[in-house]
Symmetry: C2
Subunit: 353 residues, 2 copies
């Protein structure tokens, strides 16, 4: 097994390594989709052409100095577990590895910035910040985009804006998204209604791992859909307003739970703790579900000693590829579930609640 990503196992991405008490908005992400003028989109270009694009962008990234300790990985040099590690850390999309012989990835030390090469577009630049620091993420994104854009000629038309592979990204090529942890809305059953409202208001709902992933651990990814006809600032303003509304609904529902169903709530969070501390087999899905309950318990003050970075650590390092990478080999489902439970048990036993 490839060792080049081993250092990632020593740390959390910065956006998960903070002890803010905000636990509803886990993170905010912004991204630009960009393409190089005069080159076909990755879905239609020849591999030779894409490789030229990849090398060219890698050169650009190596030449700029506004990204601290940037690491650049051609996708074809990553083995399966390595690729999955990057997906589990939200540094890469699943799609990036579908054309891995001509794709690439770069990210910085903090893991706030990642640049995908030859995914759906030639360039996808993303910035992830903790909680609702969406403006900070956007400022950083612009800096990087400006820098790269000064060294490459983007495909751009005055009438349309940035030209992208998928028409939904045309214009600004911009998208903002947040990961929301809204367990109370799930517990109360109001989530379905909320999701319907969000969708009809133009918000795209996805699961924990973004496009094509399922909703687990009471976490949803909400993202903007519009990229044409409005400025990024306007898109962010409108998005923030919608997200605040969900946050308010989640808070109201938590208050309800505390006031009217405290016993049910307490039972749920303590059971989660009891299972995490004792199980001898734990699927990634169940782990994330139970950690959601622990997070809720910590957030509502039922658990006094549980900090969010610890929960984030469990959530990241308990994932299948992280586990296998740590063990240095491919594991069967049964081995994974056993080793995950061992890892979680040890960590949870160290936390006093």
């Amino acid at each position: 097994m490839d060792e080049k990503l081993k250092y990632l196992l020593e740390k959390l991405p910065e956006w998960l390594n903070n002890s803010s008490k905000e636990d509803i908005i886990i993170s905010s992400r912004v991204r630009f989709a960009r393409n190089i003028k005069g080159v076909l989109f990755p879905s239609v270009a020849s591999q030779e052409e894409l490789l030229r694009v990849d090398y060219r962008i890698e050169d650009v990234l190596r030449s700029i100095d506004i990204i601290e300790e940037i690491r650049i990985y051609p996708a074809w040099e990553l083995d399966e577990i390595g690729s999955k590690i990057l997906i589990e850390r939200h540094l890469a999309s699943r799609d990036l590895f579908k054309r891995k012989e001509s794709a690439g990835l770069a990210f910085d030390k903090s893991e706030r910035i990642s640049i995908m090469i030859n995914e759906e577009d030639h360039i996808r630049i993303q910035c992830i910040y903790e909680n609702f620091k969406i403006e900070e993420a956007f400022i950083r994104l612009i800096e990087i985009d400006d820098e790269i854009g000064s060294l490459l000629t983007y495909s751009y038309k005055d009438t349309l804006g940035f030209i992208t592979s998928c028409p939904t990204n045309l214009g600004t090529g911009f998208r903002a998204s947040v990961l929301l942890h809204i367990p109370a809305l799930f517990i109360s059953g109001k989530i379905e209604e909320i999701l319907k409202e969000l969708i009809s208001s133009g918000i795209i709902i996805r699961g924990y791992y973004g496009e094509g992933s399922e909703i687990i651990g009471n976490i949803i990814q909400c993202s903007t859909s519009q990229s044409l006809g409005k400025s990024e600032e306007e898109i962010i303003e409108d998005f923030k307003e919608k997200i605040y509304k969900i946050v308010e609904k989640e808070k109201k529902e938590r208050k309800e739970l505390i006031e009217k169903k405290y016993n049910l709530l307490e039972d749920k969070v303590y059971r989660a703790y009891g299972i995490l501390k004792n199980a001898r087999s734990l699927s990634a899905f169940e782990m994330i579900e139970l950690l959601s309950s622990l997070r809720l318990g910590a957030s509502l003050g039922i658990f006094k000693n549980i900090d969010f970075p610890i929960l984030n650590e469990l959530m990241i390092f308990g994932q299948p590829a992280h586990l296998q990478y740590k063990m240095g080999r491919i594991l069967s489902q049964e081995e994974r579930d056993y080793l995950r439970s061992l890892f979680i048990r040890k960590k949870v036993s160290e936390i006093g609640i």
Copy 2:
């Protein structure tokens, strides 16, 4: 709430208070059905007539001295929680309280012996012993039956034997039963096949509380059906043989679990421990299910410090009527589930595993 049964909360029935390592056969019960000559069966006699029977039998029971510290309770003097306490302790059947204005109950200090008056028959004498001490139970049963029979004239015909209200009890009026804890057969899914075999071999299968009760906690009650044409000794011999066969099957299945599915087994028993130790709401059903897993874990040596009497204590005192009796008032379902979890949590935390 009536206080007269309060002393029962201080102790376990003798048949549950032993530290034998045998955990498959929890207990063995034998009983005789008897009726008084010249009096109609309880289902058809007038209340006046039944009351006369009740007083007469109570007098007989008071006059004999082979039952240590016998306590006699007219059923109409017991309130609802009191009646349920006796059912939960297997001292009385649910049916006894259906005609409670003329029924009665007597039992001894050890709770091995209980005598129901005017249940389906005028007299039902039962002896319960721990594990597979069925012969000891039977010897005791005969002693008591002989003593009572010397003071009352039983309804008996030379051609038929003892006359009973239900034809299935005709002849010896005898029935033997055992409570079997067979979790491995449930886990492996072989239980259905086993139950079918047992039923076709003439064994009657019931739940934890006998007739009309459901199967919970992987515990089944197996009882004999035949009472005519064979002596009690022959019935017992045949019954023992059948029970040993199930015990062997359960043992074989446990060995399989240990050898081939140890992780699944370990996970199951530790999860049960984790939930019992942490839940803030626990139904009686779930409690008995989880205690079954703890019992299995203790029996297979996964838990070193858990003794069966502790598990029996939880199983008895966590039952709805016991809980309410202890609290001195009728509790709502929600209160019961909460207080049960509190009781269990405290006890389980005291046990080191």
